[in-house]
Symmetry: C2
Amino acid sequence: MQRSSFSLSHTLLCAAAAVCAALVTTNAQAFDGIVEKQVFNLPTYTTVNGQVIKGVRIGYETYGRLNAARDNVILINHFITGTSHAAGRYAASDAAPGYWDMIIGAGLPIDTDRFFVIATDALANPNRASATVISTGPASIDAATGKPYGPRFPVLAARDTVEVQKALLDALGIRTLYAVAGASAGAWMSVEWASAYPERVQRLVSIVGPGVDSPAYAIAKMSSWGAAVRLDPNWAHGDYHGKAEPLAGMTQAMRLVTLDALSFAWADKAFGQKWADPSKNPGEAAANQFAVDATLEKIGEARAKGMDANSWLYTLKALQLPSAKPERIKARSLFVGISSDQIFPPLLSKRAVEILKAQGTPAEYVEMNSPNGHADALGATIGLAGPAIASLLAK
Amino acid sequence: MQRSSFSLSHTLLCAAAAVCAALVTTNAQAFDGIVEKQVFNLPTYTTVNGQVIKGVRIGYETYGRLNAARDNVILINHFITGTSHAAGRYAASDAAPGYWDMIIGAGLPIDTDRFFVIATDALANPNRASATVISTGPASIDAATGKPYGPRFPVLAARDTVEVQKALLDALGIRTLYAVAGASAGAWMSVEWASAYPERVQRLVSIVGPGVDSPAYAIAKMSSWGAAVRLDPNWAHGDYHGKAEPLAGMTQAMRLVTLDALSFAWADKAFGQKWADPSKNPGEAAANQFAVDATLEKIGEARAKGMDANSWLYTLKALQLPSAKPERIKARSLFVGISSDQIFPPLLSKRAVEILKAQGTPAEYVEMNSPNGHADALGATIGLAGPAIASLLAK
């Protein structure tokens, strides 16, 4: 069946049609099944920092079938603003399939005729607009008060999502992962997995990730993506529930994330120096905008409206708290970069491969040549990594 | 005479000693004279947008001597947070010389035995902490009211600084520029010059600039650098004079500019995952920071305190309003990039050279191999471009 490769992330990026010109192409074959969001519940969970949370749950979806030996499992971790929806459609009428639909499916690099693919939401996933995202986090209701936890929710680390995912796998009787894979923050989480449980992870696929040694610069970048929220008086140190929300701050945060995930070539092609309003010359008044800015604001606001601000800040913090140690990683690894990536430039993936190879862990670097920046790993361009992913999974 | 290459920009970046390790080296020979800040006044100036401003002035400094033919002049434009102080010291006791002191001086690539170097402040220069910066802008007193103009000051375009600089050159009887040069925003302004007055500009030196065609992405990045100020309620749409100033917003703006100007390698080397306070585990509370973040906040705040918020926003806007057209540029051109630059990556300078060459304008690209990012063009690393600059100036 023919499917469009227009992904969820691009649905967000493409609030303005002009943005999409460079991003949208078509692809051949993809996951055909109708996907059902499932829920995994844990009565209690103790965070790596020792805090007990009651009634923890995450959502997940699966593509393909678990084999009898339960050794054909590929775990997919999502990007920072993403969800578990990596492939397929929840309903035949859905406008777009999951973001990696062009590489997950029958006969595709992540072949659902062969593999059982599990994609989960991270804890504190901020996408509250998506009815299918039900991860426990600061927006969850605290049974003790009947109100959202807000800033009283315990700090989460990247490893906490790994531990809840592991509990899910244990519940499904899955002991080993044929592979763990993800893009951007999903790559970060996949590295976390390969380090936390080296004996369980056979292969690692990091797409446009920050490498294996959790760089300080990435910590600082996460803080930049949260700064605007904290500047918004409506944030009120996280106690905004039931009051006006910090939409202005979240809009700027999402605007910055969106800009960082794109590229010079993308902006030039789509906008050049076009004015937002032909009757309002940006040279005449401080408030008169260029089209690129007006579009980014619009995208930023649309994305912000779908997110819970505290959950966003908790997500950023979790990524600042990885526990991965390169020397623990044993998985046969593939690191894929994008030539025009301005968030995690190719040098980080290249360095990761050097570090792993030096310690005897088999690792390979592949570059996707694309002019449109980091976000291209969440759209059709991921197809360029298809052969390398298929090759890793064949080994 | 031996001088340290520790520049003004690094004085700001190096608020915390750890930041400096990777940035500071020593150099050989530099500009020896004591520099005096001079003032150029225009009774009235009409902006490119047709607004009349009374009593416009900019500061400038010169190194070397104007020859009889008045044809040995090199104009230096400063980076976005910089000033005219490109070389030398205002007093022998100054801790640091100007930011390009290692390439401007007797026997150096920009040889003050041969050239008359003029460096000016841009209009609306935001560095109010520097007693020597007196550029007219929104922080200037409006004679009509006796109060700062604030948001009532006319919008300025990049070309307005060029026009005031041209009036200065005219007043000095200088008709042609042997070269125009600058780093980052200074490169942007130099391209603006080469396009505005092609018959007057013989050579162009763009160091870590955005190229020749004013990309839309750079427009959006400038807006990102202003967003935090506008989120700060103290900004009050620019009417903060005499009241609490938008320091929190300016701190975040400067933090982001600083981070963008550095690199992954810089952060890893200086900080890794070190905590800001050994007794406050970032995994235990949202407010507990990593050292990299605490240092960036400290640098951001120090830089913010020295700046006027409106002038910063006017500076950003001016850079969003260039008039340069590549096809007008006739100057023999040198574009220099830095391998690890995350603001204006090398591909932009390379593209500029391709565009110019294709139209028959002689142009060359040289890359400085440095791991520390964009800001390295404002410190000792600029020495790596010395031979290429000297070679251009010898042609």
